[in-house]
């Protein structure tokens, strides 16, 4: 029998390896599995079982975190399909680079505008919408395995990652305002 530790995250949760997965089913399966393997269920078991339980629960936790995050799931799926992701390489897409600079400038401006809180909130909403759009696009790109589809998915992933990071920065700035 195939060891659980060698399964990929989609297999662990009994999903086909596609981008679009049902969040509710994911959460339900996560909880059901936790109910079976969590260390609290093995307090009275042998040491070996306790150790396996900790490791397996950690694996399920990690898999769940990756699958439930739109960004991490995209990255994981790209890797599963053999795409090598190197974060140190910057994009060569001029349009995207220009947009990155623009968005950064807008964050700066919002931060220093008269009504910073409101401006930041507007930008946050916009970034959220942008992320939703990217998720739909990447879902489509992942529908087939053609190499140009993968290249497209990779590019969309880069965009998602940039927008997410900007969103995190924005959160931190908003925090400082509170």
């Amino acid at each position: 029998m195939e060891s659980l530790f060698s399964k990929d995250y989609f297999q662990l949760f009994n999903f086909p390896a596609v981008y679009d997965i049902d969040r509710d089913v994911l959460t339900q399966r996560y909880r059901d599995m936790q109910g079976l393997i969590h260390p609290d269920r093995f307090v009275n078991a042998t040491e070996k079982e306790r150790r396996i339980s900790v490791q397996l629960t950690a694996l399920i936790n990690e898999a769940y975190n990756v699958l439930k995050s739109p960004l991490a799931r995209a990255r994981y799926l790209l890797q599963l399909r053999g795409v090598d992701i190197d974060d140190s390489v910057t994009s060569k897409d001029i349009a995207f680079l220009t947009e990155q600079i623009e968005l950064r400038e807008r964050l700066e401006d919002a931060q220093h505008s008269d009504n910073a809180e409101r401006a930041l909130m507007q930008l946050a909403n916009e970034l959220q919408k942008r992320l939703m759009g990217l998720q739909l696009a990447i879902e489509e790109a992942f529908e087939d395995d053609a190499s140009e589809s993968l290249v497209k998915a990779h590019r969309l992933y880069d965009e998602m990652q940039f927008i997410s990071r900007l969103n995190d920065e924005l959160d931190e700035i908003e925090d400082a305002f509170n």
């Binding site: 269920r41 900790v54 975190n65």
Partner: protein
Amino acid sequence: MKLQRQHHLAVGIDLGTTNSLVATVRDGHAETMVDAEGNHHCPSVVRYFADAPPVVGQAAKDAAYQDPLNTIASAKRLLGRGLADVETTANKLPYEFSKTESGMPSISTVAGDISPVAVSADILKTLMKQAEAELGGELDGVVITVPAYFDDAQRQATKDAARLAGLKVLRLLNEPTAAAVAYGLDSGSEGVHVVYDFGGGTFDVSILRFSRGVFEVMATAGDSALGGDDVDRVLAEWIMAEAGLSGEMQHSDLRRIIGEANRAKEALTSETTVQLSVDTADGVQWQGSLSRADFETLIEPLITRTLRPCRRALRDAGLTADDIQDVVMVGGSTRIPRVRECVGEFFGREPMVDIDPDKVVAVGAAIQADILVGNKPGDEMLLLDVIPLSLGIETMGGLVEKLVPRNTTIPVVRAQEFTTFKDGQTAMSIHVLQGERELVADSRSLARFELRGIPPMNAGAARIRVTFQVDADGLLSVSAQELTSGVESSIEIKPSYGLTDGQVEKMLADSLLYAADDVKKRRLHEQLVDSARLIEAVEAALNMDADGMLSNKECVTIKAALIALKDKQQSEDIALIKAAHDKLERSTSDFAARRMDIHINEALSGKLLDQIID
């Protein structure tokens, strides 16, 4: 010995900064237990003597004014802390501190230097004896609660204290999670709950989702050095300023003023003004009054400090105040009317105070202890908790690289690869830190791990995979392996503020001198309980899975080891029992792994999942 499911004795202990409580489940109902005088609370105060055993609880608290240096209160604030850490606290605490090798502060008393861990152990021992007297037997296990915001060193110190007290810890449970269990099981309400826990010495807030028997902690935040003690301190400083007293004063006077502040605070929960008086040893006399409104102004900054973590927890959980179903109040400081008002305003709903905020944590811990010890087989309740503070390691330039971000569900395992930077290098050091800041200097140092036994290779050729594991108690352990050779590195841990295993052993040995018989008996009992547990587990496993999963030979080996352990259980020799215990563990190791794999695989293939869903 025949296998039968017996009722195990288990309790939940709320080891608090100012008061501690013990609770248990009897006839399906969780309740706090009372001492001989009928008190639910045991003040977390220990008084030490030169040639007599320490006194714990109310009697010690009553003696605090007359014997301030030997009477230790609020030791929890010092647990797992370094001397430098506690300096701000220590200035306000009327003790004499001395530095120790472990980096932990010790308190100088007539009984010698006492570590905060030992003080906590003395409190735990008292509660344990009280519970054992009432339940009529030795405890099989305890759940001890800790503030959710406790870091690794503070958790480890709590576990060390339990070990010193001779208690078997089933689980360290976060206080707010315990409170949620007490409420959740009471009301059975599904949804998102906030637990606002403002205790004697710590503050934390947790956001939990309760759904179909599973409590999932979504986020937790807090301040492990903010509590009712600070309210007292702010009030005491106000009294001192009003009375024209400077900071230079005798310990006993400071104690008395803090006591007066505490009395005033409690009075102001129901009164609108309170009369105060000070009468020092130097003959300073002062009388005055304080209105509730002025009191509220004084403590407003402290309340504001509690709302910041609330905001952060909401954000980490990805929620707004509108998503919250209810807010549960825990801890004595939530009795302050202004605190309730502010929390109500912040979350936009009236906070819940149905269960006594001082007892709710112990009650929740007792419920969890009852389940974990095995008294409620088939119970579906499960707690999924998180790590409260990010874990990281030191990298070049004094920066922290985060390995496990805060609010990650535990247990969690993260691996990181390192390499050597010198030819023939056989050792390296890894510095583990906790906290949200980017600089090592701003983070809390947890431990330094020395990896040894790396096979000598050219610089950069070795690939050492270091695995960081945080278990269900929130405790960190580290292992390392060189990947090209497969050699396991040995690891020496130097906790930054904790006790090494050797130090705990030594403290245990020292306590042997005190009451050799008592300790020896307890250790024998611990071993017997452990082994009985193993026997029960192995017999259950054999009954269920021996057919089909074990060869005849394997089955015979395990049964022989089982019989040997049962036989040794009758002896009173700890070493013999331990050896037989270890042998049984070893002989069932493969069987255990096989069972786990098969059962979990069955579950994953949908068979069990469907059963659960139906």
